[in-house]
């Protein structure tokens, strides 16, 4: 099967000269679930931003559903790739949760009543129907994370890209997010430090270190390789 996401020879250098990623090659098939692992500063977020056209390669190529990601194709790519950012406050920028969830559908050209109806359905599915009219900063950390997921799921993307979806969540909220993502059928790319979450969600893992892809293997195999984990700033779950 052809890859839904294809990354070939990807390199990105930030304007300040810092090398974000280099020589990254991998493909993700439709329906596949892939964890992107690595220590802080390994290039996980930089890589993910390329999948949505938010960063464009300095060198190499990224293709999403056969579209080469570029300035021109970015709007089409973004309709296929839903991106959930690490910090929900960055994603929830409108006065109410409902408006935030309806933002994507409105930008996609839906009328206000259609967008509102879809947003309300999505909020109900995530158990947030009571929070629709509230401001994001009135929500708990877990609710905020779910709301930021809702802002993306409402647009029904083919690919979900999540940057640290369980960061700063308590155990219950973390479980809620993992259960929610486990039931999704979209292609999933998840950057995380949390190997337990990676194992629960993604059969396949990509390990980045120093901006390079250093391993592409089954997540279970990665967890059985303490040397590999140690070498790249990762550690197996304590229990």
């Amino acid at each position: 099967m052809a890859a839904l996401i294809e990354v070939r020879g990807l390199a990105y250098r930030y304007p300040d000269g810092a090398q974000g990623v280099r020589d990254v090659d991998f493909g993700v098939r439709a329906g596949e679930r892939v964890a992107v692992l690595g220590p802080n500063g390994s290039g996980k977020s930089t890589l993910l931003l390329h999948l949505n056209g938010l960063l464009l390669p300095t060198d190499g190529e990224v293709r999403v559903a056969d579209l080469p990601v570029s300035e021109e194709t970015a709007p089409a790519v973004r309709r296929k790739v839903g991106f959930v950012f690490q910090e929900p406050d960055d994603q929830l920028f409108l006065p109410t949760v409902l408006e935030d969830v309806a933002f994507g559908p409105l930008n996609a050209g839906l009328s206000a009543p259609e967008a509102e109806a879809r947003a309300r359905v999505e909020l109900r599915e995530l158990g947030l129907e009571g929070q629709a009219e509230r401001a994001a900063h009135h929500l708990s950390g877990g609710e905020r994370r779910l709301a930021s997921l809702a802002t993306v799921l409402v647009s029904e993307p083919e690919i979900l890209v999540l940057d640290e979806p369980t960061a700063a969540l308590d155990a219950r909220a973390r479980r809620l997010v993992v259960d929610l993502l486990r039931d999704r059928t979209e292609t999933l790319v998840v950057a995380t430090h949390d190997l337990e979450v990676a194992l629960a969600l993604c059969p396949r893992a990509l390990v980045l270190d120093g901006g390079r892809l250093v391993a592409d293997l089954a997540t279970a195999d990665l967890l059985r390789d303490p040397d590999l984990l140690e070498r790249h700033g990762l550690s197996a779950p304590l229990a």
Partner: protein, 253 residues
């Protein structure tokens, strides 16, 4: 910080809240403009405009104490800024304290400034109290305010609260390390917090912009609850404009 504290009466059903936001905005601008155009000493006309504003406030079911409290802050600033007029204007002295003399012309000018400012500020209070901020933005957009301005206003409103929380976290972190002994120390800490929040705000604005692009943002914030300009709104707007015109022209004729 409560996000809704400004929008409380915007949720109360009333004739005012049922009007289209652009109509409300234009009506209140008409009142403010009318007040500004009144000549000095046009007391009945100033009173008439104030009565009009109070009628709007009552129709919008804004309690009198709340209305007065919201009006008091900006009105106090006007009083403060204009009290110099009392003693600077030439005229017949009415009252003197050493070299400071309040003149009759000064009193009329001061009264006129306050008399014009009260209905104008009252109109602004009614407007911001009965209009949710997104509706106000939509009204400004409909009135062709540049998109860059309305977008910046919208994001500032939301992110103001995030920024306030961030500043509070920084202050707490500074306090936890016993920062800011003495006035100079407190100044240094405050400057450090201000600088850190500025840098963080810049970084956050970059991240928010990315999050907007990721969800299809293309330069304009779409509005969910766009209230159409209906016949009733047009009629009320025309009626208010006519009353204001009548009041202003009666003062000049």
């Amino acid at each position: 910080m409560s996000f809704r504290h400004l929008d409380h009466w915007a949720e109360v059903p009333s004739l005012v809240t049922r009007l289209a936001p652009p109509a409300r905005l234009l009506a209140m601008v008409a009142v403010a403009l009318g007040a500004a155009l009144l000549p000095m000493g046009a007391w009945p006309q100033m009173a008439a405009l104030l009565v009009l504003v109070l009628a709007f406030a009552a129709t919008a079911r804004i309690p009198a104490p709340a209305f007065a409290a919201r009006l008091a802050g900006p009105l106090f600033l006007v009083l403060l800024a204009s009290c110099a007029v009392l003693v600077l204007a030439p005229g017949e002295p009415l009252w003197a304290l050493g070299p400071i003399r309040v003149t009759d012309t000064g009193l009329v000018r001061f009264g006129s400034v306050v008399g014009r400012a009260t209905p104008a500020l009252g109109a602004a209070v009614v407007l911001v109290s009965t209009l949710r901020f997104p509706e106000l933005l939509e009204a400004l957009r409909k009135l062709r305010l540049p998109s860059a301005v309305t977008t910046a206003l919208g994001l500032s409103y939301r992110l103001l609260y995030t920024l306030a929380d961030e500043i509070e976290r920084l202050r707490r972190a500074a306090r936890s390390r016993n920062a800011g002994h003495g006035a100079a120390g407190r100044r240094r800490t405050a400057m450090g917090i201000a600088a850190a929040s500025l840098v963080r705000s810049y970084a956050r604005s970059e991240r928010v912009h990315r999050a907007m692009l990721a969800r299809g943002y293309s330069g304009a914030l779409p509005q969910l609850h766009a209230q159409p300009m209906d016949v009733r709104s047009v009629v009320v707007l025309l009626a208010v404009s006519a009353i204001v015109l009548l009041v202003v022209s009666s003062a000049w004729l």
